[in-house]
Amino acid sequence: MSTPWLTLVGAAGAPVIPDFGGGGGGGPSCARRNGTFCWDWFRDNWSDVFAPALGQHVKLTLIAIAVGFPLSALLALLAHRRRRVETPITIVTGTLFTIPSLALFQLLVPITGLSVLTVEIALVSYTLLILFRNMLAGLRGVPDDVRDAARGMGLTDRQVLWRVEMPLALPAVIAGLRIATVTVISLATVGAFIVDQGLGGPIFRAIQSGVFKTELIAAGLLAIMLALVADGGLVLAQRVLTPWASSGRAR
């Protein structure tokens, strides 16, 4: 039923005929020699290989976060109201989090097939523990005095939540969002083993074609840069959204 779209070096025991740079001897000579990094080949293949893979990777990540964030928020609000549910939620999300990505993808394949859905279900499940834990910690971290003061001013429970607790929880939430985002970017590369989407595709393909170094390094570097840029972007977002949080910790 599941037939991953590739087999790997040594995996099937099939001899691999190296074909670096593609096209049976076409392409720049530095690619055919399989040098450490062939800039010409990278430039030639940017628009056909890397740009689409990068775009798919961003899309996979955004969908996972867009689904995981509200789901975690719901769980966190639930646990904030009713302490009893915290432990079960932590155990379930923690178990999901601990299962290695490659295994979780493969366990889902018999159910949802070799599809983007399989990859997204796994990616979303990895965001839950991180986001849930940070959101809950943020909500719980609001000092009781502040909450009392808000009630004393006549705010209803709903107003306390939206106008006091949530803004104060924001730094913790964004800290969680940072971890969740880089985690998803990292694991989405592995998802390429299930469907040829994202920057993992070129990585697996480069290994399959007999360790084509340029493609490996290019895709790996792009994945790393994407993670660092996303992380940096969220740091900036936090500075803008919660100016009060950064001033206090100039240590």
Partner: protein
């Protein structure tokens, strides 16, 4: 559901294969974890003790976390080749940053009053380190070791693409083992990771000094730490 039944049958029919792959998996993980410990823990403790290098120590974990493990393995293959040692080096890069950061934050965050009191009692710098700072830093340091170790065991699955062996080889080898084999491999990997997580959680409880239990209850793998990078001096972070 039939696939899962077939997978379970595969598990029982191929116990010796799974056993030998598990041993390979653990050998690779053990080598990477040991070397990460040797590299990261002494350096983290030292930097924390002298309260220097916070920028390096804190950011190392953030950058380390941002590095996709498959990308690290891809680099390892491209630059070092295929096999046990290149894979092990890639796994060290996965584990060492989080271990170093936790050790640093743990020692750096030890209550200054406790250190002052120890000095006032006439302890030498060495005694302060060994008898005050290290015991107090132990739970958080161990939380980092636990996170790193579980992370290595999970990532070692990917090592199969780099010829590192282990249980990942079954998952990547659809051609030989078929779908039931792949799913069985996935079940084995998941079970191994969960077992490692539980084992390290138990170990962490065992090494935590009695007086500190409860204070650090919430530290589990991946570590995370609410507020991870926000408040390095807050135990329970990173």
């Amino acid at each position: 559901m039939k696939t899962f039944a077939d997978a379970v049958r595969f598990l029982f029919d191929n116990l010796s294969l799974l056993g030998s792959k598990t041993v390979e998996h653990l050998e690779l993980s053990f080598a990477a974890i040991s070397l990460s410990l040797l590299l990261a823990i002494p350096l983290g403790i030292w930097l924390g003790h002298i309260h220097r290098g916070s920028l390096l120590a804190i950011n190392l974990a953030n950058v380390g976390r941002a590095l996709p493990s498959l990308a690290i393995i891809a680099f390892g293959i491209a630059l070092l080749g295929i096999g046990f040692v290149p894979t092990m080096i890639a796994l060290i890069l996965v584990a060492a940053p989080i271990m170093l950061t936790n050790a640093y934050v743990a020692v750096d965050g030890v209550d200054r009053d406790a250190v002052d009191a120890a000095r006032g009692m006439g302890m030498t710098a060495r005694e302060v380190l060994l008898r005050v700072e290290l015991p107090l830093a132990l739970p958080l340091t161990f939380a980092g070791i636990r996170t790193g170790a579980v992370y290595v065991i999970a990532t070692a699955t990917l090592a199969a693409v780099a010829g590192g062996g282990g249980l990942g080889e079954i998952i990547f080898n659809q051609a030989s083992y078929g779908t039931p084999g792949v799913v069985a491999g996935a079940i084995a990997v998941a079970a191994l990771a969960l077992a490692a997580e539980l084992a390290f959680a138990t170990l962490q409880r065992a090494v935590t000094p009695k007086g500190l239990r409860g204070a650090v209850r919430d530290q589990r793998a991946d570590g995370p730490p609410p507020f991870a990078e926000l408040e390095p001096s807050n135990p329970g972070s990173t």
